[in-house]
Symmetry: C2
Subunit: 497 residues, 2 copies
Amino acid sequence: MFEVAELGHRISKQEYNKEVPVLRAELLSIQQEMKNAGFPVIILISGVDGGGKGRVINLLNEWMDPRYIRTYAFGAETEEERERPSYWRYWMALPPKGHTGIYVGSWYSDPIAKRVRGKIDNADLDAELIHIKKLEKELVDDGALIIKCWLHLSEDGQRKRLKSLEKNPETRWRVTRQDKKHLKLYEKFSSIAERTLRETSTGEAPWLIVEGTDNRYSSLTVGKHILGRIRKHLEHTRLLNEQRAQMSNLPMPVRDEMSVLGSLELSQALEKKTYNQELEKYQGKLNKLSRAAYARKISSLLVFEGWDAGGKGGAIRRLVHAMDARHYRVIPVAAPTDEENAHHYLWRFWRHIPRGGMVTIYDRSWYGRVLVERIEGFARDDEWMRAYSEINDFEEELTDHGIVLMKYWLHISQEEQLARFKEREKIAYKKYKITEEDYRNRERWDDYETSVNDMVTRTSTEYAPWHLVESNDKRFARVKVLKTYCEALEKRLDNEK
Amino acid sequence: MFEVAELGHRISKQEYNKEVPVLRAELLSIQQEMKNAGFPVIILISGVDGGGKGRVINLLNEWMDPRYIRTYAFGAETEEERERPSYWRYWMALPPKGHTGIYVGSWYSDPIAKRVRGKIDNADLDAELIHIKKLEKELVDDGALIIKCWLHLSEDGQRKRLKSLEKNPETRWRVTRQDKKHLKLYEKFSSIAERTLRETSTGEAPWLIVEGTDNRYSSLTVGKHILGRIRKHLEHTRLLNEQRAQMSNLPMPVRDEMSVLGSLELSQALEKKTYNQELEKYQGKLNKLSRAAYARKISSLLVFEGWDAGGKGGAIRRLVHAMDARHYRVIPVAAPTDEENAHHYLWRFWRHIPRGGMVTIYDRSWYGRVLVERIEGFARDDEWMRAYSEINDFEEELTDHGIVLMKYWLHISQEEQLARFKEREKIAYKKYKITEEDYRNRERWDDYETSVNDMVTRTSTEYAPWHLVESNDKRFARVKVLKTYCEALEKRLDNEK
């Protein structure tokens, strides 16, 4: 695979000086076009030590308008990063639409380094690469352009480079003991890199392998490749948008009488006296459990979805009553801000992933993608359809990191909802909760029910099952929420021991 | 001062249960009003150990709509926080307009704790308190409501509390060795707290001292106080806005012929040959210096202001050419995002304060407040007038933290600007840089010149002087920028030794 990059590609100074001004002008002008095209560009510059990564990156920053570029070098994880799933820092560093992110030391660095040092085996490496491919596919599906460049140097080339650096007193300091150690591992590194590139050279995000011996050659090759890819992606995006404008979404299927929601026993209820006892019991329990979880840096993430007036707010208040306000945060999910809108729809949820020991409670969540966005047509069919697996992957990352993830659907009947709307309109400080939109949503009850059934079926996983809460009786619902969360925390704390 | 909070205030369970529902309804409904009133509420809950801070905070979260509240507990600084000025974390935690932030362990905790432990003396404490007062005044000037509550417990009350906790096996664990140590320091702590409260009980942000023996009493008192303050602030804000709507901004003063800008020698220029030598020399120098600064975690913050077509972009490119793209970031300052708009105007600049060793380059900056916002009337007279000292304070925090701060004004003549506009319109990849707005701005040249002169005069401080760069000759300007930054870095690195 790397043979092609050991042929001695070079470019003369004269040719370089002739080509660069043209390339630069084209890159600058295409950056302008990009601003309005509405997609981000993600450029990975990877490769062997001494392959000239730093030099290529510096040149790209010089050639292009640096105001729309940001360069990231991921090193060892910081305290804040370690306390969150490992991909959190990559998500946080994704460029908004119209901008370019350049990455040296990307999501590829860790798996390769770990495999070279023998900390993981080939099977682990392959699992990591599948993870990477999922991430890249998800970003490409969302419209992003991913450009991956690998700067190669032969073993001999690497040796020569170190020797020449060492000869010059001005550059001798740049040769470290680590460089020499890496040279000894060359063959191993090379074969692992080859496996990685082979596995992750996908149709949507292929690798470009570039010979790194001659800086002029490698910079110009990378620069031209970027220009070509952006140009093609602009065209591709334009055509795709035209095509999409002509397509309409699928009609909503008719309501299926036999369904997950339909089989819930909504008549379940608690007497006031039993309720008070149970409430006290589980709030007391939760108080202790959440204190223990905090001490052991176990985070929780609770998702509340449900019908309007289903009792989300009340259930959340009963929960947090038992918790320390310094350790939880309630995130009301409303319309995204413009910064959020410029990113992948999951970005705004990644943002609030709690640090170790903390709790985030989402009042509505990423499931909006397959509920309101599906029903109102805010998301295209392909978008909400692939969202199920995107969401499953996202939740797997959370739970793999050890986060306790609880997903609640608060279910009430259509009649109960109407009664609650009427009741709310009577109480001064609850009146603001009822708007015309609530009545409009009511009219689409069947569509919502279909979407909820689909959602529950497709996103109830072993690691993140849905908890369907029969909520016609508020007391029953609140106790069920408290109880299930207590059980999950208890189980998690036991596993830890 | 604390005597008033040692009188044995209590409230009966009956009265409490009668009052709470009323208070809660009023708090919820006033939160609704607040959402549209456009100001943030900052609530500090401080006081002695065992004064019931945690309980009051939890109750506030329960009584109010938790979706518009966020509670922060500041503990020891994290890695990311330590690498930035100490107030960075407080700025980042400020609530947006319409929201409430509750803080336990605020900007008061560190100075008090340090003074009690004898790490600083009274003069240092007073200096810290002045710093705090400046911050609070700045936030209040910007429209924020600051509510500060101090929960007090007498020495005897504290002792009794610890004893009763220890007696009960269920609560014994809550009494730590630290609690006992703190009790011994009671008198010292109390006198330092008194000094702090006295110094920082200002007209715009007074302290409320609350007796903390009885939880019902303290929670209800704090809750009612908050309600009252918000209510008054809503009214105050309404009246203020009405008043302001009737007031127009001051007219721009006429241009003063004798001025800082007027005295610049714009004819200074460099021959191409000299330029190439100097450029190479200073880029080489900067390369080494910035590498050394990175290694020693010395950050830089560079601000570029200047006339349209003054050459900011070109100067920035020559600078970054000598730097490692992984270590700098260029921030183009355009219209604020909606998240930025919901905060104090300096918030969006605090956001990008670099970590240790990194460089942030602002292409335009917070000086927009006293330039375009002043001239176009986007800021009221009182806003841009007080901005000078707000900016000076901000910059002092940066330089006090050891950040190298460089401020450049790239100055050209009116004729030179016109020539550059015309030239740009001819070059394909530069054409996008010229818009109608540029021509409109040109018409206000005199107003800009007046504002720039005022800005330079009022914000050239010992710790952050302006560098006025004669830029009619691009070569001269670029070398001057490089040279001055090199000198500043050199000086800073020498001081470090």
